[in-house]
């Protein structure tokens, strides 16, 4: 397929999925819709995360910071602002913080970047706690004015679609290519003419904006937010995990993983309450070990490969146990001796 055909295919898939998601509240139960909502939240978060962090390999753990900032914005703003404005404001502030944060940390790579973004998230959380406690005299906020559930659902849906659409679109542009180059070898990309600083800051801000918007939209479901819940680092961890499980470098990986993960986690939670978190952990490990390319890389070939590998493994173990390996080595040695190597 040519790149154009790919584009059309991707857009069609996205369109189909969107249509389906739009129709969902019409026929599905409360529970299914609220599950779909969680799912969409992670689609938006991990797709937008992969958009920047996946391609450039800047592993950011700051998603929860942006999420929390968005949440706080809407918690504070909703009383005076309309819903779309509050969401947009959440996105803008998150992006603004990302630009500042980026200016400080985007020159560090790898783990340093990951650890720093994590540290900054914690810093923001504690700073907000402290500020609230000493200035407003209370920690956390109660959201009195909240929109309808469907409003929240469609907003998050819109954000998820936006995130995926951006991923589809951006990978074809100079911007997307530049991010890919940064991921492969940043300095090399620079010598080929990429203004890496600009690209990184923009990409980081974009991710942050979407996370912020999602945070702004989701927080209303919780009535009461405090720094501990909305800056919960696990939101960031989960986002990263989902993106990586799906395949951070791929377009559809994060989406597939978000769906699989949410459905699986929920099913296991309800079906095997005792051990579901353990099963989840186990599945995670297995998927990393045996699906290193992510869920998006699963092909019929993958299964055949597993089958082959396990057969080979079985044969080897059997030979080892029955002493066949020893005998074969012995035979080979004898053959060589027979040929009078010496």
């Amino acid at each position: 397929m040519t790149s154009r055909q790919f584009l059309i295919r991707d857009l069609l898939v996205l369109f189909g999925l969107t249509g389906w998601a739009v129709a969902l509240p019409g026929f599905a139960s409360e529970f299914v819709v609220s599950m779909a909502l969680t799912c969409l939240m992670y689609v938006a978060l991990s797709s937008s995360w992969a958009l920047f962090c996946g391609t450039t390999r800047y592993l950011s753990l700051a998603t929860s910071a942006f999420f929390g900032i968005g949440a706080y914005t809407s918690a504070i703003g909703l009383e005076s602002l309309s819903w779309p404005v509050a969401i947009a404001l959440g996105a803008t502030i998150a992006a603004g913080i990302a630009v500042l944060m980026g200016a400080a940390v985007l020159h560090l790579r790898g783990t340093y970047f990951a650890v720093l973004t994590f540290g900054m998230t914690e810093l923001i959380r504690h700073a907000i706690s402290y500020f609230e406690k000493s200035v407003t005299g209370t920690v956390g906020r109660v959201l009195m004015v909240v929109p309808e559930r469907d409003t929240v659902y469609f907003t998050v849906l819109l954000l998820a679609v936006l995130a995926v659409a951006l991923s589809i679109g951006i990978r074809r542009t100079r911007f997307g290519l530049a991010m890919q180059g940064i991921g492969a070898d940043e300095q090399r990309a620079q010598t080929l003419g990429v203004n890496t600083r600009l690209v990184k800051t923009a990409g980081f801000a974009l991710t942050a904006a979407i996370a912020g918007a999602v945070g702004a939209a989701m927080s209303v479901r919780w009535t009461y937010i405090d720094p501990h819940t909305v800056f919960n680092p696990f939101i960031g961890f989960q986002t990263v995990l989902i993106a990586l499980i799906g395949g951070a470098m791929t377009l559809w990986g994060p989406l597939i993983a978000a769906i699989v993960f949410s459905v699986l986690a929920e099913t296991l939670r309800l079906q095997v309450p005792q051990v579901y978190m353990m099963s989840l952990g186990l599945l995670l490990i297995l998927s990393v070990l045996y699906l290193p390319g992510g869920l998006a890389s699963v092909r019929a070939e993958t299964f055949k490969g597993w089958w082959r590998d396990s057969k080979a493994w079985w044969r080897e173990t059997r030979d080892d146990l029955s002493g066949e390996t020893e005998r074969r080595k012995q035979r080979e040695k004898q053959q060589r001796e027979a040929r009078h190597v010496y």
């Binding site: 560090l108 994590f118 900054m120």
Partner: protein, 300 residues
């Protein structure tokens, strides 16, 4: 503030810092040297703590006996985990970055697995027991300060273990060998390192140390299956301050953090303390990413 009060404050900071350092040692081996960001570090520590608690609570055995036992137990688990997971990861990852990312994911999986296994076996309740909590007065210049005996014990053993590790890594090539392994697996084989043994060994020691830390912590603090995460974070902060892979750095970093926190807590309040430690952490990372105590060339 009087001189003796200062000394007392700093001593209490040092003791907390020693505990931080102890918590960081295992992770420092795994992450600093082996590039396995074992986010389940705190969970394994928790296993050590729970095993100790269980033995202390059911058999009334002194928790001190559990120090070698939890080391051995966790060492065994570590070797097994390495054999089951990281062996394959090392073999299949094209480069260090990828290995690190995948290792992180595996560690997440382990975290879920271990934490919930423990809470499945023992329930999610908070636990604790009373051991050596009586105060002990240590004479200090200009007065004296009281500390619980178990804290002093933890502190002493933290110094001991850190010291032992420093000596081990300075006098043998083990630490360098592991770092070499991560930087160039082929190179490591070429100089004759048995990569299939060294790696599990070091990983096992790392986990064993978390076990020891858990065992000791259970004497001083309450424990629960979800206690792990904060310890992982503390450990990460400490090893970043001290420089990845440097045991001396981890010790110094832990002590420094403890003192900073104690002083910060005294002069402001404990809430600001958290803010303070993160500011120090971020400041260090930004200004001296190689760690506060790293010289140009890294030593064990």
């Amino acid at each position: 503030m009087s001189f003796s009060a200062w000394i007392e404050l700093i001593a209490s900071g040092l003791i907390t810092g020693g505990i931080y350092a102890l918590v960081a040692l295992g992770l420092n081996l795994q992450y600093g040297l082996m590039r396995i960001l074992n986010i389940a570090h705190g969970e394994f520590l928790m296993v050590g703590a729970f095993v100790t608690w269980m033995v202390a609570a059911t058999f009334g055995l002194s928790p001190l006996w559990m120090i070698p036992v939890s080391f051995a137990l966790l060492f065994g688990i570590g070797v097994a985990v390495h054999w089951l997971c990281f062996r394959r990861l090392t073999a299949t990852s094209p480069n260090l970055d990828v290995f690190e990312a995948r290792g992180l994911m595996v560690a997440f999986g382990l975290m879920f697995l271990v934490q919930n296994a423990i809470s499945w076996i023992w329930g999610g309740d908070l636990r604790g027991y009373d051991f050596l909590t009586q105060p002990f007065a240590i004479p200090l210049p200009g007065g004296q300060a009281q500390f619980a005996v178990n804290k002093l014990l933890v502190f002493g053993l933290a110094l001991l273990f850190a010291g032992a590790l420093i000596v081990l890594l300075r006098t043998t090539l083990l630490g360098k060998g592991v770092r070499a392994l991560m930087q160039s697996p082929t190179g490591a084989q070429l100089v004759g390192i048995d990569t299939k043994r060294l790696h599990p060994l070091m990983f096992g020691i790392g986990l064993g140390l978390s076990g020891v830390a858990g065992c000791l912590l259970s004497m001083a603090y309450t424990i629960s299956p979800s206690m792990g995460e904060p310890y992982t974070v503390t450990a990460l902060i400490v090893i970043t301050l001290g420089g990845f892979g440097s045991m001396g750095g981890a010790l110094a970093g832990g002590l420094l953090l403890g003192v900073i926190e104690a002083i910060g807590m005294h002069f402001t309040n404990p809430s600001l303390k958290a803010l303070l430690s993160y500011i120090v952490f971020i400041g260090v990372l930004l200004l001296r990413p190689e760690g506060l105590f790293a010289r140009k060339t890294r030593k064990a």
